[in-house]
Amino acid sequence: MPLKRYKKYVSLLMFTAPAFLLYAVFLLIPTLGGMFYSFTDWNGLNKSYHFVGFANFAEALGEDSDFVHSLWFTLKYVVFMVVLQNAIALLLAVLIETRTRSKGFFRTVFFMPNMISIIISSFMWTFVFTQVLPQIAEKTALAFLDQSWIGNPSVSFYSILIVSLWNGVGYMLIIYLAALQGVPQHLKEAAVIDGASPFQRFLHVTVPMITHAITICFFLTLNGAFKVFEVVYGLTGGGPGRSTQVITLNIYEEAFSNNFRYGYASAKSVILFVMILIITFIQISVMKKREVEA
C-alpha cells in the first residue's frame, strides 16, 4: 500500500518539521560545523581557510600550556565536585529524611540557593569572600577566615568549589530525597529486626535501593562539572593570570576575546566534547551494572 506509507511519512514530517528545523539550524549544524572547523586554520573573519589535519589538536595538547593547565584544573575540579556534591547532598538527604516536622523546612532552605543563577551566586560570594570574611576574621578569633580567597590561586580553587557546592547541592538533594522516600519501609524494619545498626542499614538496604538515583546524580554532577564556566567567570575570571582557568573559559577566551582563532578554539571544543563523552560512557556503563530492582 504505497499511498498509506506515503501518507505516514508526510504526517511524520509535518509533526516533526518545526522542531527539527530549529534543532538542525541551531544545534545539529553547529555541532557538525565545529567538528569540521576543528581541522582548519579558519580565523572567523576570512572567507578562506586551509585544512590542517590534526595540527590544532596537536598544538592544543602539546604546546598550549595554558590549555593543558586548564585541562588539569578542570579535572581536579570535576573529581572534587562529583565526590563532594554527592556526598553532601546524600548526607543531608538522609538526615532530613529522619526529621518529621522540619523536613519541609530544611528541604526549602537547602534548595533555595539553586534557584539563584550561578553568576549571581558568585557575585554574592565575591562580597562574602572579599568583605565579610576578612572583617569577621579581624574582629573575632577566627583568623583562618582571613584568606586571599580570590587572589591566591591555591585558595581560590576552594572558593570556586564552595560556591559551586553552595549552588549545586540542593538539586541533587531533591533527587536523593525523592529516591529515599521510595525505599520500602518493610525492608528497613526487617533489617532492624535482624539487628542491623543504622550504618549497616544505610549501606546494605538504603544504598542498593537508591543506586538508580546515585547513577543519575553522578551523571548530572559529572556533566555539569566538566562544563563549569559561570562560577569561575564570576569569581576569579580565570585569574590571577590564567591560574584558575577552566576548559570552557579557555575556549571562550580563545574564540571571543583573544585572537579569534576559531578553528583552533573549535579543536579545543571537540576535545572537551570527546572527554565528556568518554567519561560519561564509562560512568554509566560501570554504574548501570550495580543497579538492583526493588
Binding site: 544545534l27 543531608l92 532552605v109
Partner: protein, 275 residues
C-alpha cells in the same frame, strides 16, 4: 531511648548549622544592600542605621530593571512556548510511528543531548550572525527552542507511551484529523510532563548567562542577569549598589520559588528519573 533522643538532637543541630551556611550569603547580601558604604566598612554584620532604599532606586535604574525584566520574560515565554509546542508534536509523532526513519530522527535528537553548549558556541554564534538573528530578542528565543527541543522530545516521547492509542483512533473515527485529535485529545493528557518540561526550561533560560552574553550586544536588549553582570563590572567595589542589584535580580526567582516550590521539586525529580 535517651541515646536516640540525643542523636536526634545532634542531627537537628547539624542541619541547622548547615542551613545557616546555606542562608548566610543571601542574608549578608540583603542586609548590606540597605547600608551605606561606610556602615559596611564599620561592620558587615551590624544592622543598618536606617534602611537606605536609595541603593535600590539607584540599582533599579542602573540595571534598567523594567526593561531587562520584560526582555527576560519575553525570551523565556517564547522559548518555553516554542519548545512545548514543537516538541510535543514531534515527541508524540515519533513515539507513535515505527520504522527506521522515525527511529533515526529520534536517535538524532537524543544523541545531541550529550553535546555540551561550550562545544557549539563558536559555530552557533557564527550561525546567528549569518542569519542576522544576533542581537535580537526573538532570535535568542528561537535559539533556545533549537537547543531545548531535544530533551523535551525525549520526555514527551516516553510519556506518550502511557497514553492508549484507542483515544486518538476513536477521535479520528469521529471525524477529527490528525492535528485536531492531537490538540484536543492528546495534548491535554500530556499536561503533567508539559509542566515538568516548562519548569526545567524556565530555570534554564531564566538563569542562563553565557548564551545571552554571546548573542546580545545592545544594552536595551539585555536580560536581567546580563544587566547585573554589566553593573558588576562597571561599579567595581561599590558594594551597596551591587548588592541591591543582586537582590533585585534574585527576587523574581525567589518569588516564583515560593509559589511553585512543589512543582519545581517534582519537575526536577521527574526530569531526573526519566532522563
Amino acid at each position: 531511648m535517651t541515646i536516640r533522643k540525643t542523636t536526634s538532637f545532634f542531627v537537628l543541630l547539624f542541619l541547622l548549622a548547615a542551613a545557616i551556611i546555606a542562608v548566610f550569603p543571601i542574608y549578608m547580601a540583603v542586609l548590606n544592600s540597605f547600608k551605606t558604604q561606610e556602615e559596611m566598612f564599620r561592620s558587615v554584620l551590624a544592622l543598618p542605621s536606617r534602611l537606605h532604599w536609595e541603593n535600590y532606586s539607584q540599582a533599579f535604574h542602573k540595571i534598567h530593571m523594567l526593561n531587562s525584566t520584560v526582555n527576560t520574560v519575553t525570551i523565556s515565554a517564547i522559548g518555553i512556548g516554542g519548545i512545548l509546542f514543537t516538541a510535543s508534536l514531534a515527541g508524540y509523532k515519533l513515539s507513535r510511528t515505527g520504522g527506521k526513519l522515525s527511529n533515526a530522527i529520534f536517535f538524532l535528537f537524543v544523541a545531541s543531548m550529550l553535546v555540551p553548549f561550550h562545544s557549539i558556541m563558536i559555530p552557533l554564534s557564527r550561525m546567528a550572525k549569518n542569519l542576522s538573528v544576533q542581537g535580537s530578542t526573538y532570535g535568542l528565543a528561537l535559539i533556545y527552542i533549537g537547543l531545548g527541543v531535544n530533551m523535551a522530545i525525549f520526555l514527551y516521547h516516553g510519556f506518550v507511551k502511557s497514553i492508549p492509542r484507542e483515544l486518538e483512533e476513536s477521535a479520528q473515527i469521529d471525524g477529527c484529523n490528525e492535528f485536531q485529535s492531537f490538540f484536543r485529545i492528546i495534548f491535554p493528557l500530556l499536561l503533567p510532563i508539559t509542566v515538568t518540561i516548562a519548569i526545567l526550561d524556565f530555570l534554564w533560560i531564566w538563569n542562563d548567562f553565557l548564551l545571552p552574553l554571546l548573542m546580545l550586544t545592545d544594552v536595551d536588549r539585555y536580560t536581567l542577569i546580563l544587566s547585573t553582570n554589566m553593573l558588576f563590572g562597571e561599579y567595581n567595589k561599590e558594594w551597596s549598589l551591587i548588592l541591591a542589584a543582586l537582590v533585585l535580580t534574585a527576587i523574581p526567582v525567589v518569588v516564583i520559588y515560593a509559589f511553585f516550590q512543589k512543582f519545581i521539586m517534582e519537575g526536577i525529580t521527574e526530569g531526573a528519573v526519566k532522563g
